[in-house]
C-alpha cells in the first residue's frame, strides 16, 4: 500500500519535472558553495574548484593544531612580516599581502574579531594591536561580552547574562585549528538550500490527499475496507517517507559534493572560529547537524501543513501554496511587523538555524534560559506530531458528495 502511495507521487508528470528542477537547484547551489572558497595564486589570480581548495588547505594546514598563545603570537609576527615586506600600498602589494596571508587569514580573523568593538568587525584590527593583545583572544571574548552587558546597550535579564557568560566561559580553549573552509562554505549556503528543499518537498506531498478527489478516485478509495483507516495512515506514511528521503538524499548529495571538492577537514574545530560570538559550544560538525535537524523539523512541519491543507480543501493547488505561506510569508511579515520576539518563533526560523545560532536569541522559562533554536525545534516537533492525527481524522471523515 505504502509502495503504491509513493509510486503515485513520483509517477506524476509535475513531480517528475519538480524532481528535475530540484536536481538543477542542487547543482547550482553546490557550484555556488564551492565557489565561495577562493585561492589567490602568486600572480594575483583568483581560483576556485578542487585545485584551489587543495592549495588553500595546504596553506592553512601549515598552522594546524591548537591555537595557543604562542601560536597566536607567531601569527601576529607573520602578519607583521608580510606587512613590512609589501609596504608600498600599491594594488600589486595588496594582492601579494592577500596571497601571503591566505594560510593565516582565519586566525587573523579570530584576532580581529577579538579586538573589534562588540558586534563589529575591524578588518585591520591586527595591525593596530600589540602582540600581547593578539595572544589574549580567549580572555577578550569573555571580557568583550561583560563590557557589552555593562554598557547597558542590551536588554538581557540577569539570568540570561549569566547564562551567556557561563556558555562563554565553558568554551574549551585553546581552539583546535585546521583548514575548515569546506564546512564554513557549506554552512553559509545551507539555509537557502534547505528552504528551497522544503518548498520542493511541500510540492511533492501536496497532492497525496487531494489528488484522490482531483482524479475522482475518491469514491473507490473510501469504499474499500482500509479506505478510512490504514490506507489514510499509509498516505501519511508516504508523505513522511518522501519528505525524509528527499530531504536526506538532497542534503547528503549536497554535503558530499561540497566536502569532496572543498575538503572535509575541520569538522571537529569549534564553530567560534567562523562565528566568533556564537554561544553554542559546538564543533562545525555539531552545528551542521543542528542546522540539518532544525531544517528537517521545519520541512516536516511545512510538509504536514501542505498535507493538512490538501486533506481539508481537496485542492492540490491550494496545498502547494501552504509551504510558501508557512516558510516565505511569515519571514516577509517579520520584516513589516515589529514583533521580534514573536518572529523568532515563526517556522521559517527552523530553516535558518545557521543565523539562529549566530544571534543571542534566548528565552527564559521560569529561571531556565534556553536558546530559541532549541525551543522552536521542540515546539515544532510537537506541533508536527500533533498535526498527524488531525490530518488523519480530517481525511478519514471525508464525505463524497
Amino acid at each position: 500500500m505504502l509502495k503504491y502511495e509513493i509510486k503515485k507521487v513520483f509517477l506524476k508528470g509535475r513531480n517528475k519535472i519538480a524532481l528535475l528542477l530540484l536536481a538543477i537547484v542542487l547543482l547550482a547551489v553546490s557550484v555556488m558553495t564551492v565557489n565561495r572558497v577562493e585561492y589567490v595564486d602568486e600572480n594575483g589570480g583568483h581560483k576556485t574548484g578542487i585545485a584551489a581548495a587543495r592549495n588553500l588547505r595546504e596553506e592553512k594546514n601549515k598552522w594546524a593544531g591548537y591555537l595557543t598563545e604562542d601560536v597566536l603570537r607567531d601569527v601576529y609576527r607573520e602578519n607583521q612580516a608580510i606587512n613590512s615586506e609589501y609596504a608600498s600600498g600599491s594594488m600589486e602589494d595588496e594582492d601579494k599581502i592577500y596571497q601571503k596571508r591566505q594560510g593565516i587569514s582565519s586566525i587573523i580573523d579570530l584576532i580581529n574579531n577579538a579586538n573589534s568593538p562588540w558586534r563589529e568587525y575591524d578588518y585591520y584590527a591586527i595591525d593596530s594591536i600589540t602582540e600581547d593583545q593578539a595572544a589574549d583572544v580567549y580572555e577578550k571574548r569573555i571580557s568583550g561580552l561583560e563590557e557589552w552587558f555593562a554598557s547597558g546597550k542590551e536588554t538581557f535579564s540577569r539570568e540570561q547574562q549569566e547564562f551567556l557568560l557561563s556558555q562563554y566561559k565553558n568554551l574549551d580553549t585553546p581552539f583546535y585549528y585546521e583548514y575548515y573552509d569546506g564546512w564554513a562554505a557549506l554552512l553559509q549556503n545551507i539555509s537557502t538550500f534547505i528552504l528551497l528543499l522544503a518548498l520542493f518537498i511541500g510540492f511533492f506531498v501536496s497532492g497525496i490527499f487531494s489528488d484522490e478527489f482531483q482524479t475522482k478516485a475518491d469514491a473507490v478509495f473510501f469504499s474499500t475496507k482500509l479506505g478510512r483507516n490504514k490506507a489514510v495512515g499509509s498516505k501519511l506514511g508516504a508523505g513522511f517517507i518522501i519528505a525524509t528521503a528527499v530531504y536526506a538524499a538532497a542534503l547528503i548529495i549536497y554535503t558530499a559534493a561540497v566536502l569532496l571538492i572543498l575538503g572535509a577537514d575541520g569538522a571537529g574545530c569549534p564553530i567560534q572560529l567562523e562565528m566568533w560570538r556564537d554561544f553554542y559550544n559546538a564543533t562545525f560538525l555539531e552545528t551542521y547537524l543542528l542546522i540539518v535537524f532544525g531544517g528537517y523539523i521545519g520541512m516536516l512541519f511545512a510538509a504536514t501543513a501542505a498535507m493538512l491543507v490538501s486533506a481539508l480543501t481537496r485542492s492540490t493547488v491550494t496545498a502547494i501554496i501552504a509551504p510558501f505561506v508557512v516558510l516565505c510569508v511569515f519571514p516577509f511579515l517579520s520584516r513589516i511587523v515589529t514583533l521580534p520576539q514573536v518572529c523568532s518563533f515563526f517556522p521559517d526560523r527552523l530553516l535558518d538555524i545557521y543565523n539562529g545560532v549566530r544571534d543571542f536569541s534566548l528565552m527564559q522559562i521560569g529561571g531556565k534560559v534556553i536558546g530559541i533554536p532549541a525551543i522552536i525545534i521542540l515546539v515544532y516537533t510537537a506541533v508536527t506530531l500533533v498535526l498527524q492525527p488531525i490530518v488523519y481524522r480530517v481525511y478519514k471523515k471525508a464525505e463524497i458528495k
Binding site: T215, A219, S223, R228
Partner: protein, 295 residues
C-alpha cells in the same frame, strides 16, 4: 445476507436527494432505474458509506453499516458513475493498489488481479497505463477493481454510461456472469441494461422509490396500455404532442408509432404487450426521456 434501508433520507440543504426510502435486499440483481437527478447515485453512495444519511440508516444483518465500518466495506465492491483512477498507473498496478487497500494479502492480490484481468479481457492491456485505455477498457478495469475482494455486495452506478452498443452488451453479460451468489445493485438510466438481468427493478423518481418488483410486475401493473398504430407523416407531431410515444419507426409516407395510452389512440391501433421501456416512459414521462434517457 440481508441489507436493509430503513427510512433513509439524505438532504443537501433544502434539496432532498433521497426521501424516506425503506427497502430490503438479499442475493440477486436489483436494477435501480431513474432519470438523472432521481437520487440513484446518492442512494448508492450511502450504501457505500461515502456519505452519511440525514436520517434513517442502513443495516447489514441488523447492524448499522457505519458502525460496522471496515467489516462492512470488506464485503463491498463499488464501481462509481464517475470512475476515477490513477492515470499513470498500469492496469496491473492499479488493481494491485486497490487490492492492497481492500486488505487483500499480497499473494491473494496478485492471483485475483491476474484472474480478473483475464476475466474482463484486459490481458493485453495489463501493462498499459490507465490513461491510455479506451472508455470501455477503463470500465472493464473498473469492474475488475470492484470484484477484487470477491464482494458479497456489488454496487454498480451507471456502469454502461458512455459505452458503445457492443461494449454495453459485453458489459451486461459480464455483470450477469458476476452476479451469482451475491447482491448486485445496478443503477442506470438505460432501460436495456437491466431489462434482462435484474431480478427486481426499482423505479426511482424525486428521491423516492415509486415502483418496485420483477420485470413482469412492473410492466404488468402499468395502468395504461401500449398500442401500435400507423399514421401519415404530417400527423406525427400531433400524435407526439397528444400521446406518450415510446418509439417511432419511419416508413415511406407513414410512421409506425408505439404509444402508451389508457385509451385506444386510433381506431386501427393494435394493442401490444408492454415492455420496460414503455413502463419507463409511463412513469418518468416523455420530458425525462428527451433529456436523459437512452432506450
Amino acid at each position: 445476507m440481508e441489507l436493509q434501508l430503513n427510512d433513509l433520507t439524505k438532504k443537501f440543504g433544502n434539496f432532498t436527494a433521497v426521501d424516506h426510502v425503506s427497502l430490503t435486499m438479499t442475493n440477486g440483481v436489483y436494477g435501480l432505474l431513474g432519470v438523472n437527478g432521481a437520487g440513484k447515485t446518492t442512494l448508492m453512495r450511502m450504501l457505500c458509506t461515502l456519505i452519511k444519511p440525514t436520517s434513517g440508516n442502513i443495516t447489514y444483518k441488523g447492524k448499522n453499516i457505519l458502525e460496522l465500518d471496515g467489516r462492512y466495506r470488506q464485503l463491498l465492491g463499488y464501481l462509481p458513475q464517475e470512475f476515477g483512477f490513477y492515470p499513470e498507473f498500469t492496469v496491473q498496478d492499479y488493481l494491485l493498489y486497490i487490492a492492497s487497500i481492500k486488505g487483500l494479502r499480497p499473494a491473494v492480490a496478485k492471483r485475483r488481479t491476474k484472474e480478473l484481468i483475464q476475466k474482463v479481457g484486459l490481458s493485453k492491456a495489463a501493462k498499459k497505463k490507465m490513461k491510455t485505455l479506451s472508455g470501455g477498457m477503463k470500465r472493464r478495469a473498473g469492474i475488475a477493481q470492484a470484484m477484487l475482494n470477491d464482494p458479497r455486495i456489488l454496487i454498480l452506478d451507471e456502469p454502461t454510461a458512455g459505452l458503445d452498443p457492443n461494449e454495453r452488451i459485453r458489459f451486461r453479460n459480464l455483470i450477469s456472469e458476476l452476479s451469482e451468489e451475491r447482491l448486485v445493485l445496478l443503477s442506470t438510466h438505460i432501460v436495456s441494461d437491466i431489462e434482462y438481468i435484474a431480478n427486481e427493478i426499482w423505479l426511482m423518481k424525486g428521491g423516492k422509490i415509486i415502483r418496485r418488483g420483477a420485470l413482469d410486475e412492473i410492466v404488468g401493473n402499468m395502468p395504461e396500455t401500449v398500442w401500435i398504430c400507423r399514421v401519415e407523416k404530417q400527423k406525427v407531431s400531433f400524435m407526439i404532442n397528444k400521446y406518450k410515444v415510446s418509439n417511432m419507426k419511419s416508413e415511406e409516407d407513414r410512421a409506425e408509432l408505439r404509444i402508451v395510452s389508457a385509451d385506444r389512440p386510433l381506431p386501427d391501433a393494435v394493442q401490444v404487450k408492454p415492455t420496460l421501456e414503455d413502463a419507463f416512459l409511463y412513469y418518468f414521462g416523455e420530458k425525462a426521456g428527451s433529456e436523459d434517457v437512452e432506450i
